[in-house]
């Protein structure tokens, strides 16, 4: 409720701005799989370390034309998260400023629907950074891969207790896990899972 109100006001405000087109409904057949690596797990405090996005067109995952951004080192970059995503302060020296990165990201995704693993988390972190800089939240439709899988499994095999780890789902769908805990790797794997699920992997198997 609050979110849709917010979207309406955002849309009014941006109607004649640079990003007005983002609020138009999407008519194409593409999706964008996204993933972020952050400094923590709490969407209220976590800061962005890297963002990746891969387009999906039909059966094809367009990895040749993917977006993989690294940001400047945020203040809260600490040992705990480095252990997961393995991006050290040094690795981020060449990184982009937050504003530049988000603008590139918006240009890349456009108004396509967003796909992600627990995508709500990624979107809320991005929104927290986006609102102060550009004054709106991401208006895109979002599809959460974890939920899609759960729903599909419940539809086809209601008696099965779904096992909802990233790796175990990848295995169930026969998708190779590529570069786990790098933004681009996770985004690509999620994209492959989606393509796979849409082709009826569960029915067949």
């Amino acid at each position: 409720m609050i979110r849709s109100l917010r979207r309406v006001t955002d849309r009014r405000k941006q109607a004649h701005g640079r990003y007005g087109w983002l609020f138009n409904p999407y008519t194409g057949d593409e999706l964008v799989a996204i993933d972020c690596e952050t400094t923590g797990l709490d969407p209220k405090t976590a800061e962005l370390v890297s963002i990746a996005a891969v387009r999906i067109k039909g059966d094809h995952v367009l990895t040749s034309d993917a977006l993989d951004l690294r940001l400047q080192q945020p203040d809260s970059l600490s040992g705990d998260s480095i252990r997961i995503h393995r991006l050290r302060g040094v690795d981020l020296e060449e990184g982009e400023s937050l504003q530049a990165a988000l603008e590139k990201f918006l240009d890349f995704i456009g108004n396509r629907p967003l796909l992600g693993w627990c995508v709500d988390y990624d979107i809320s972190v991005i929104n927290r950074h986006l609102r102060p800089l550009l004054g709106f939240d991401l208006p895109n439709v979002s599809i959460d891969m974890a939920q899609v899988y759960q729903r599909e499994l419940r539809r086809i095999r209601p008696h099965l207790e779904p096992h909802l780890g990233f790796e175990s789902i990848a295995k169930a769908l026969g998708v190779p896990v590529m570069g786990r805990h790098t933004a681009l790797g996770d985004a690509t794997t999620t994209a492959l899972m989606y393509v796979r699920l849409n082709k009826g992997a569960l029915e067949a198997g």
């Binding site: 995952v61 990895t63 190779p176 590529m178 790797g185 082709k199 067949a204």
Partner: protein
């Protein structure tokens, strides 16, 4: 974010920059079971690299049972030919859910331009692909592989030249100055050689004067090589002629000498040592010791990436020497010149690398007086068994009186076989056709072979019967689908080696070509215009490929690592690398093509 194995061909032909262009340029796509990825006639937009899954290549113009012409699994590449030709000739259909990497046409074409070898990989015929494989193997092999590819020109030394007027004393001085072992004497229109041993014998034993001309002691029958020959071939001719140097000739000009010691400094493997041991053996036990070292030699040659036909040549020469020695030990010298010991079958063709069985026969001159012949031959067979040649299961050995006969007896037998044309007779004729004399008087065999040609080569009906055997086993191409389970394998002997060997044998019989090895027959047939040059070369390559695959399994079995209970002729496709699989597939295609030609030529379609 792409993990393709880029260490296999064709990607191994790219450098780092090229590889990163591949990794950054590919897209990914999922295909369901039974989905058509690329249809016949469609234009090729991508080169596909399979990450997971299986894809079949179908020829839509053929009926269903024969339509499957290719099979690709993880790591294989397809679709490249479609890009090069503009459109696909075949239909590619998934057999399992398949995850592919897609390399767009544009990038593929850029790569072909930037790396000619990469592009060539897709354009080349089988022969060239096999060469790539060998060269690559050679390049990661050790020093000897370099030796194998070395030419005679790289290893020869400038000749020490003398003229007609040079005296013995001057010759010795020249040899000392130049630290050489031999000198060449140029006389009117010909070149002779004088070695240190010759000089020594001349001075001491024959009592020549120091001032007598060196021309008188020179030998004019030379073992020669051309500067473009492989060094290995020079070594083979040294082994064969039992000499320690070959003269390098260009036209009729001697331009250098290759000394054995020079070759050995290049090449510290065991082949010469073994052949030396064979030559020096003066009793059967020593001969058996030398003979037992052959498998070791084969393994050394194989691991160093020697091309199989050279290895076959060397091994055939060595086996011939061993058998001939054994013959000399056991047969009285008077009868040696009145009889001819021939090896037949694979040994006669010089294609038996490891000793698998002995197929041999004896031809006696008409009217020879040799009462103990039967006993002597029994002993010879036993001796060969002791030397490591297992007995022939079909009893085609000299211990069997049926395979010992006089010249006229052999002629009668051959005529009888040729008129009978039943299975056994045809088999016997095929074996006889490959006969190669290793000991005794070789002219006897030439006479018999002439008779064989005379009685068979014009008889079209006989030739049809003879050729039909080559079609007895279908090429295992259509079996690919059922080979997924690892327990099975394809029979490479029945499906690949036998059709080529026998088909070529039939053509050789028709054209009356004298050489017995399949590769030499192919050369002769190509020279006569009976086969196209390219096709003959492809057949030869296919044969060496099959023989090599089989040899690998035989060696593994000798090591005790391979499964000893399995047949070494069975090749399990899944255990091959993707390039080998690719080669095998193309090789079998060539066999199939050859069988079709045979059935067309000899009217076997019914």
């Amino acid at each position: 974010m792409v993990d393709i194995d880029l260490s296999q061909a064709p990607f191994s032909l790219l450098d780092e920059a090229g590889k990163s262009r591949v990794t950054n340029g590919v897209d990914m796509a999922y295909f369901d079971t039974g989905e058509v990825i690329l249809d016949a006639g469609q234009s090729g937009e991508y080169m596909y690299i399979i990450h997971k899954g299986e894809v079949a290549e179908l020829d839509t113009t053929l009926p269903d049972a024969r339509a499957r012409i290719g099979h690709y699994t993880a790591g294989d590449v397809f679709g490249a030919i479609s890009i090069l030709n503009g459109k696909s000739r075949y239909r590619f259909k998934t057999e399992q859910e398949t995850l592919c990497y897609l390399l767009p046409k544009v990038i593929f074409e850029q790569l072909c331009d930037a790396y000619p070898t990469f592009g060539d990989f897709f354009r080349e015929s089988l022969a060239n692909k096999a060469r790539l494989l060998v060269e690559r193997r050679a390049s990661d092999g050790v020093s000897m592989a370099g030796f194998m590819l070395a030419r005679v020109a790289e290893c020869m030394r400038a000749p020490c030249l003398a003229n007609e007027a040079t005296t013995v004393a001057e010759a010795v001085a020249m040899l000392n100055d130049q630290h050489a072992d031999s000198l060449l004497v140029q006389a009117v229109g010909q070149v002779g050689i004088v070695t240190k041993t010759d000089l020594l014998n001349a001075l001491i034993l024959q009592g020549h004067e120091r001032a007598s001309p060196v021309l008188g002691i020179a030998h004019f029958t030379l073992v020669t090589a051309s500067p473009d020959d492989y060094l290995f071939q020079a070594l083979v001719s040294m082994t064969r002629h039992d000499v320690a140097r070959v003269v390098v000739m260009e036209g009729d000009q001697a331009i250098g000498v290759v000394e054995l010691t020079d070759v050995l400094s290049y090449f510290s493997s065991r082949s010469y040592v073994v052949s030396l041991e064979v030559e020096q053996a003066n009793d059967l036990e020593a001969l058996a010791r030398a003979s037992a070292r052959l498998p070791e030699l084969v393994r050394a040659l194989m691991s160093q990436g020697v091309k199989l036909n050279f290895a076959m040549d060397l091994l055939a020469a060595l086996n011939g020497r061993i058998i001939s020695k054994a013959f000399q030990f056991l047969v009285p010298s008077q009868q040696q010149s009145q009889s001819c010991f021939v090896v037949m079958g694979s040994e006669g063709r010089g294609e038996q690398i490891l000793k698998t069985d002995q197929d041999n026969a004896l031809i006696l001159q008409d009217g020879v007086d040799w009462p103990t012949c039967g006993d002597d031959m029994q002993r010879l067979t036993e001796t060969l068994y002791m030397l490591g040649y297992p007995p022939c299961p079909g009893n085609i050995m000299v211990s069997n009186p049926e395979w010992v006969n006089s010249e006229s007896g052999w002629r009668r037998t051959i005529s009888r076989w040729a008129s009978r044309r039943d299975g056994d007779s045809l088999m016997n004729l095929a074996i006889m056709l490959d006969a190669h004399a290793v000991a005794g008087n070789g002219q006897l065999l030439d006479g018999i072979r002439q008779h064989l040609f005379d009685s068979c080569s014009h008889d079209e009906i006989f030739l049809s019967y003879f050729a039909k055997i080559a079609l007895r086993f279908a090429t295992p191409l259509t079996l690919f689908g059922t080979l997924k389970r690892p327990a099975h394998g394809i029979d490479i002997k029945k499906g690949g080696i036998f059709p080529i060997v026998h088909g070529v044998r039939t053509l050789a019989l028709e054209c009356r070509t004298a050489p017995t090895s399949t590769l030499a027959r192919l050369d002769a047939l190509a020279a006569q215009g009976r086969l196209e040059k390219e096709f003959a070369a492809d057949l030869g390559e296919a044969l060496s490929l099959f023989a090599e695959l089989r040899l690998k399994q035989q060696l593994a079995r000798l090591d005790g690592t391979g499964k000893t209970d399995s047949d070494p002729n069975l090749v399990v496709v899944q255990s091959l690398s993707s390039l080998e699989r690719d080669l095998l597939r193309e090789g079998l295609h060539i066999v199939k093509d050859f069988q079709q030609r045979l059935s067309h030529r000899f009217h076997l379609e019914y």
